[in-house]
């Protein structure tokens, strides 16, 4: 019986080795492994995994194709609903979404849906090696992967044709159905309507892909010098290789005819009003994310050696500080404390570790409450990151030159559940202690940037800074739509993509009835 096969483990870089490099941790499945893993799926009549997926990927259907070895067919099915499968297969919190709802997970281990999605996406890129970072991977896995490449390359060209077939022409369905989507489609017949997308992160890319496929003339404006938003500046190379994976998927979006103009800060370089009044854009989607870092407000936060996770990660990811041939400096020190327990905290800690710092995570609740993906916590531990749970910083202590010397913390215990349902941490009086450290990285979450609200007539924001928008992404001003972290505050890549796609439908509706 299929369910008797244990979940196929995925090959990963040795923790001792990867703690010193920035190459991808996970090698992914090869064809044989993927087909075996796919055979575990029970093909439930009412697949709860699909309901749990924010973009409703037809999971059992694509897995059935993988099981048959029809990777092109699987790619076509995923492509109908997701524009960034290679990214999502790597960074989605599957354990709380698709895999968390898998029936197999009730008694045993769920199907490795994320790893299968990643496998399918990686194999869809024709003629490219499957090496995640292109250099220096273990030789054994290279061999395994190159075998898989051969099998997949024939499938890949076929996949292009298939995806084109399922996805030609403008959308005609009603609003209730999810339109055909995914970057793996074809540009629709030009309908002459111009739409501007602000931000090239997951929300913007998903929105742009759908609109381009329906024939819209889409331009994405990006404030930074590279496209991808948080996928580029936030998520490290060892989780999401930039050249081999991200750039490839962004190129797929560009291939749909989407233009990406970098170095344009909406609200400064040009305003939304001038895009609409002077440049002929009929609708605008705001997918600017949540980019403003939070600090704790404790003494010593402006000492040298205290960084926001945003700064630390941007220096390393976008500006490639880890590479000798790039100029941007980065300072992890010999000892680094990262404050926070989310994915960003894990990313920052594992980056600091790779830069040579003995690194600790400081989190005020227990490991059970860590908001990070389990896989990231597991990887961080394997690599040697120290976890100080039930610990909260109260002060950063500096030396005579104004550099960080120690992080003063207090031990916590869990009290009554708060409004989020989590037991709130309470300080234990008199338990203060100091951790000697050279750097402190604050990974406490981020908030939306107020620039667009402040420079656009008729847009409203909530108290927490998110743009006011309905479920379909309509803001308080007709013609302007928004979605992703810019509306909700910091969340996940896949939720942002889902919001981008919903807004694309609302934009389509708006422009057709205007």
């Amino acid at each position: 019986m299929a369910e008797r096969i244990p979940r196929v483990p995925v090959r990963e870089q040795d923790p001792k080795v990867r703690a010193h490099n920035f190459e991808e941790v996970c090698y992914g499945y090869n064809l044989e492994e993927a087909m075996t893993e796919a055979s575990r799926c029970l093909h439930c009549k009412n697949p709860r995994c699909v309901t749990a997926c924010p973009v409703s990927i037809k999971i059992p259907e694509f897995i059935a194709k993988v099981k048959e070895g029809d990777i092109a067919g699987a790619a076509a099915i995923i492509g109908e609903d997701s524009s960034l499968p290679a990214v999502c297969g790597r960074v989605c919190p599957q354990e709380t979404q698709c895999e968390g709802s898998c029936v197999l997970g009730v008694k045993g281990e769920s199907v490795a849906i994320g790893k299968l999605e990643r496998f399918v996406a990686d194999h869809t890129f024709e003629g490219e090696t499957l090496s995640p970072s292109g250099v220096g991977c273990a030789s054994e896995s290279e061999v395994l992967r190159s075998e898989a490449t051969n099998a997949a390359s024939a499938a890949a060209s076929e996949s292009r044709a298939m995806r084109g077939m399922v996805d030609a022409g403008p959308r005609t369905e009603g609003l209730g159905t999810i339109p055909l989507g995914g970057a793996g489609g074809y540009k629709g017949t030009d309908n002459g309507h111009k739409v501007a997308i602000i931000g090239s992160g997951p929300a913007g890319l998903a929105c742009a892909s759908d609109l381009a496929k329906w024939g819209y003339d889409v331009t994405i404006f990006e404030a930074l010098h590279k496209a991808g938003g948080v996928l580029e500046y936030g998520i490290p190379e060892f989780r999401l290789p930039k050249e081999a994976v991200l750039k490839r998927e962004i190129n797929e979006v560009k291939a749909l005819g989407v233009k990406i103009e970098t170095d344009v800060i909406i609200g400064r370089t040009v305003t939304i009003d001038s895009l609409m009044d002077d440049e002929g854009f009929e609708a605008v989607f705001v997918g600017t994310g949540a980019g403003l870092p939070k600090f704790m407000g404790i003494p010593g936060e402006n000492l040298n050696g205290v960084f926001s996770a945003n700064e630390f990660l941007t220096r390393n990811n976008l500006m490639k500080a880890f590479r000798e041939d790039y100029l941007t400096p980065i300072h992890a020190g010999k000892k680094c404390c990262v404050v926070g327990g989310g994915n960003v905290a894990m990313d920052a800690a594992r980056t600091a570790l790779r830069l040579g710092a003995d690194t600790s995570i400081i989190y005020r609740r227990t490991e059970v409450e860590l908001p990070a993906r389990k896989e990231e916590v597991h990887h961080a531990k394997e690599e040697g990151v120290d976890f100080q749970m039930l610990t909260n910083p109260v002060e950063i202590i500096g030396d005579e030159n104004g550099w960080v010397k120690a992080l003063k913390c207090i031990r916590m215990e869990l009290g009554e559940p708060d409004e989020s349902g989590r037991r709130s941490p309470v300080p234990i009086p008199g338990s203060e202690f100091e951790i000697p450290t050279e750097t402190v990285i604050m990974a406490l979450g981020t908030a939306p940037n107020p620039l667009i609200v402040n420079t656009t007539k008729g847009l409203e924001a909530t108290r927490r800074g998110g743009l006011v928008a309905d479920d379909e992404g309509r803001t308080t001003r007709p013609g302007i739509f928004a979605g992703g972290d810019a509306v909700t505050g910091a969340a996940t890549v896949i939720l942002a993509m889902g919001a981008g796609r919903k807004a694309a439908r609302a934009i389509d509706e708006y422009l057709k009835t205007k």
Binding site: D263, T269, G291, P293, F295, T314
Partner: protein, 281 residues
């Protein structure tokens, strides 16, 4: 890609460049800055806008050779390209938003030091063009290091040159010149603006406090994105943490914690020295 249309060395270490950047030129206002990334491997360097021409679609930047990244900017020749130029960033100077009536009675004094002289130019010009009283003090170590003297000469009512060695103009620093103007020459100013090295702006603020003149200073902090994302440019202003990129770059000098700002500017000194040794001979 952004084309360099003109390049001119103003001193052996200071380079002026006119760059094609139509979108930025269209929106730029005095007091704002931009970020330049010379090449793929470079750093994003914040530089104050020294001039802009909306018709020609150009912006002017002035760069001083300090480390590897500024060297990469200066190394570019006319006709070559910067990988990226982004802006305008930050808020325009306070006077840009003041209503005309309130501006009419103002008498401005600019205190410019070294490289900071270049961004004073669009500010002084903006005021001078509108008939507002503007005097400018430029200071440098010696005569040959003074920049923008001609441009500023035609963008203000009175231009005062100062040199530390007395080779031209007032013998002494800009703040001493300001004290001399107010105490001995009967000059009265309602608002001062200082742009230059952090230490100079600190002393300009102390002098203005003594003379009871309000002063704005333009903080050239370390930055990565320039849009409020990284927080590298944190400064304490009136006891609160502010981001120079989005809350500034100009702040009321009286409120700025200059010692902290100076310390924070040196945050990557060790790493920068290492890079400089590799790239700058």
């Amino acid at each position: 890609m952004f084309k360099i249309l003109k390049r001119q060395m103003l001193t052996p270490n200071i380079c002026k460049m006119v760059v094609s950047a139509p979108r930025i030129a269209k929106s730029a206002l005095p007091g704002q800055f931009l970020i330049v990334l010379a090449n793929e491997e470079g750093e994003r360097i914040p530089l104050t806008i020294s001039d802009y021409d909306r018709e020609k679609g150009t912006v002017t930047i002035v760069t001083q050779l300090i480390g590897a990244s500024s060297a990469a900017i200066i190394a570019k020749e006319e006709g070559e390209f910067f990988r990226d130029v982004v802006g305008p960033l930050g808020n325009p100077s306070a006077f840009v938003k003041m209503d005309e009536e309130a501006l009419k009675g103002q008498r401005y004094i600019f205190i410019a030091g070294g490289l900071g002289t270049a961004p004073v130019y669009p500010q002084a010009k903006w005021l001078h063009d509108r008939g507002i009283a503007v005097d400018v003090i430029i200071g440098a170590r010696t005569k040959d290091l003074l920049i923008y003297t001609e441009e500023l000469g035609s963008a203000c009512d009175n231009l005062y040159l100062c040199t530390d060695d007395g080779s031209v103009g007032f013998h002494g620093v800009g703040t001493a010149c300001l004290e001399d103007l107010v105490n001995n020459q009967g000059k009265e100013y309602t608002q001062a603006v200082a742009i230059g090295p952090m230490i100079m702006m600190k002393f300009a603020t102390l002098t203005c406090k003594k003379l009871n003149i309000p002063i704005d200073v333009s903080l050239n902090m370390l930055m990565v994105d320039g849009t409020g994302m990284c927080g590298a440019c944190r400064v304490t202003v009136a006891g609160k943490t502010r981001f120079a990129c989005v809350d500034g770059p100009e702040f009321n000098g009286y409120d700025v914690d200059f010692d902290e700002a100076m310390r924070r500017l040196g945050q990557y000194k060790a790493e920068e020295a290492e890079e400089k040794a590799k790239y700058v001979k």
